[in-house]
């Protein structure tokens, strides 16, 4: 158990170090920051002084360690645009991203599971075929295009739901949350549905194929022979057994949901980290690019780590059967 967690921690650390090297090389070594920070009329002496002041005359590996030390100390530089610490900008936007991502996952499970269950229980009905076709569409349709269509239909044509922003938020322990107000909920619905669709398709597929396998199992037949009500058989005997692969995959997909929220946030002007990443890239706000990308990677790695540790607690096979290498 401890060995398993230690190994996972090591792997996560390796990912983070590799990413920091990559981001450092890309942003700090390609292109000279002095050119941006100093006026074009500056003479050679001024450029040399500025270079020394920024520590850019040191060897690359020394610069990297300075960057790393600063990063570990929570100092990822000030934003060129907002003139605020980049970490503070990220911290302000983190709740919005997490709220969006978890609402999307919730919708994917709450809608996807019953649909998948139905498609698996009655695979030959028209409705089941429609659900199957819909799930294939959900896989193929690009997230950004679906988002645009949602805005076109529900915000522009029908005018039912707002298409930008977070709406009114309620502060709980200093963190702004949208889903607690009616206005915020209306703002949350479209982006959350957009982000949930491909995950929902996944839940439907896994649910349907799992159900088709499970209903032929002896324990389901036995439950039927005992004369249990169908609703109880489905709830206790079918649902519990198809949940294992779904929970597994959803855990692994949480990182992807966070990553894809960049797309959804940009389309729906949702004030989260994803939108911050895209806008900082567009205006070349280097400290924010570095900080927000690193923080997103950190978030994804931490979620993966957490999910892995959860399995080792829930499923003994994972901790004991871990293949070496």
């Amino acid at each position: 158990m401890t060995v398993f967690i230690l190994r996972r921690l090591m792997q996560s650390a390796v990912v983070l170090v590799l990413m920091s090297v990559l981001v450092f090389l890309g942003v700090f070594a390609i292109g000279n920051p002095v050119d941006i920070l100093i006026s074009p009329q500056a003479d050679q002496a001024e450029i040399t002084r500025a270079t020394a002041a920024l520590g850019l005359d040191k060897p690359l590996w020394q610069q990297y360690f300075v960057f790393l030390a600063n990063a570990l100390g929570g100092n990822l530089g000030n934003s060129f645009v907002f003139n605020e610490p980049s970490l503070w900008l990220i911290a302000q936007r983190l709740p919005a991203t997490l709220e969006l991502a978890f609402s999307a996952l919730l919708i994917a499970v709450v809608l996807g599971l019953p649909l998948g269950l139905y498609a698996g229980l009655k695979p030959d009905t028209t409705l089941a075929r429609l659900i199957g076709a819909g799930s294939i569409l959900g896989f193929s349709l690009p997230t950004f295009w679906v988002g645009i269509m949602l805005i076109m239909v529900f915000a522009v044509e029908l005018g039912w739901l707002p298409s930008t922003g977070r709406g009114a938020t309620v502060h709980v322990l200093g963190v702004g949350l949208s889903f607690l107000t009616w206005d915020g909920l209306k703002h949350l619905l479209l982006p959350a549905v957009n982000l949930s669709l491909s995950r929902m398709a996944l839940v439907i597929r896994l649910g349907a194929s799992g159900t088709r396998e499970v209903v032929h199992m002896d324990y389901v037949k036995f439950a039927q022979a005992k004369g249990l009500r169908p609703s109880r058989i489905i709830r206790v005997h079918v649902l519990r057994n198809i949940l294992i692969p779904i929970v597994t995959v959803l855990g692994l997909e949480t990182g992807a949901v966070i990553a894809f929220s960049m797309v959804t946030e940009t389309i729906f002007a949702w004030p989260g980290i994803g939108r911050l990443i895209i806008s900082s890239i567009t205006v070349l706000d280097r400290p924010v690019i570095v900080a927000s990308l690193m923080m997103t990677v950190l978030l994804v790695v931490l979620i993966n780590l957490l999910v892995d540790m959860l399995y080792s607690v829930l499923d003994p096979r994972v901790r004991h059967g871990e293949a070496p290498g």
Binding site: Q11, V14, V15, L18, M19, L22, V23, L25, G26, V27, I30, I136, F139, S140, L141, P142, T143, F144, W145, I148, M149, I151, M152, A155, V156, S163, G255, A256, I258, A259, F260, M262, V263, T266, I267, I277, I278, I281, T282, I289, L293, T296, V297, V300, V301, N304, G325
Partner: protein, 307 residues
Amino acid sequence: MTALNEPRDRLEVGNAAEMPFRRVLADFFGSTLAVGGLGALSGIVFIALVAPWISPQNPYDLARLDLLDGRLPPGSGSSDGAIIYWLGTDDQGRDMLSAIFYGLRTSLVVGGLSAGFALIIGAVLGLIAAYIGGRSEMLIMRLVDLQLSLPAILVALILLALLGHGVAKIILALVVVQWAYFARTVRGSALVERRKEYIDAARCLALSDARIMLHHLLPNCLPPLIVVLTVQVAHAITLEATLSFLGIGLPITEPSLGLLIANGFEYMISGKYWISLFPGLALLAAIMSINLVGDRLRDVLNPRLQR
């Protein structure tokens, strides 16, 4: 069931060398949906190939664009009466139909090339991992795990934020996020194939490792690789469109479907739906047709379903 078994029966009496290919073809054409997908895909590829000759206008020759024709709805004529904009125009007076033809060209080239390069790199590394084993296998598979643990779009975005715009750069970024899928697939099937007798026979002939890997192992790992290739081409096209839509993929000078959709996005709120909608439908048609073909290939090439 009998319809499925028929081609196989012929296989056993026929020429063994050419029969598997024919059986796969026959199986493939057994599905109307897949044939439809293949037809649509051929049409799209053909349009992309001949785009410069069939487009009413060169959409990226700025001298030919007339700002007076900007944001015309579908079916309007141009101000000089020369052409009819069947799908309308964008804010710069660009014919959407021509822009879509050129956009398909870029999308298919980027998707095809990046998946192709990723296949070559992934296949070679996967073969090395399976055949040589040892330390190289550990290193390669660790890299694969690392790559797959991070969402593709995040890695591609980081690379493009660092590298900047351009077709070559986006292809590079897509290759980096895709090679691991190929490497994992090839290693999986090569590990099974490696234990078979024909590999032992090739070894006894003292053939070089490279020759055994490329001429003996690789051909037998092809079926799953082809399926992964179709999925990844569709994935690459989607990813490129998404990144271009976000403004960090292709530059404005390169016609791409994602960029066209992004251009139209700001006009959609005012009801000018056609600038975003039609390029989106073209993108959808391309992705769906590739997925339909890939889905059928998966069924046809899967040995477990043949028995």
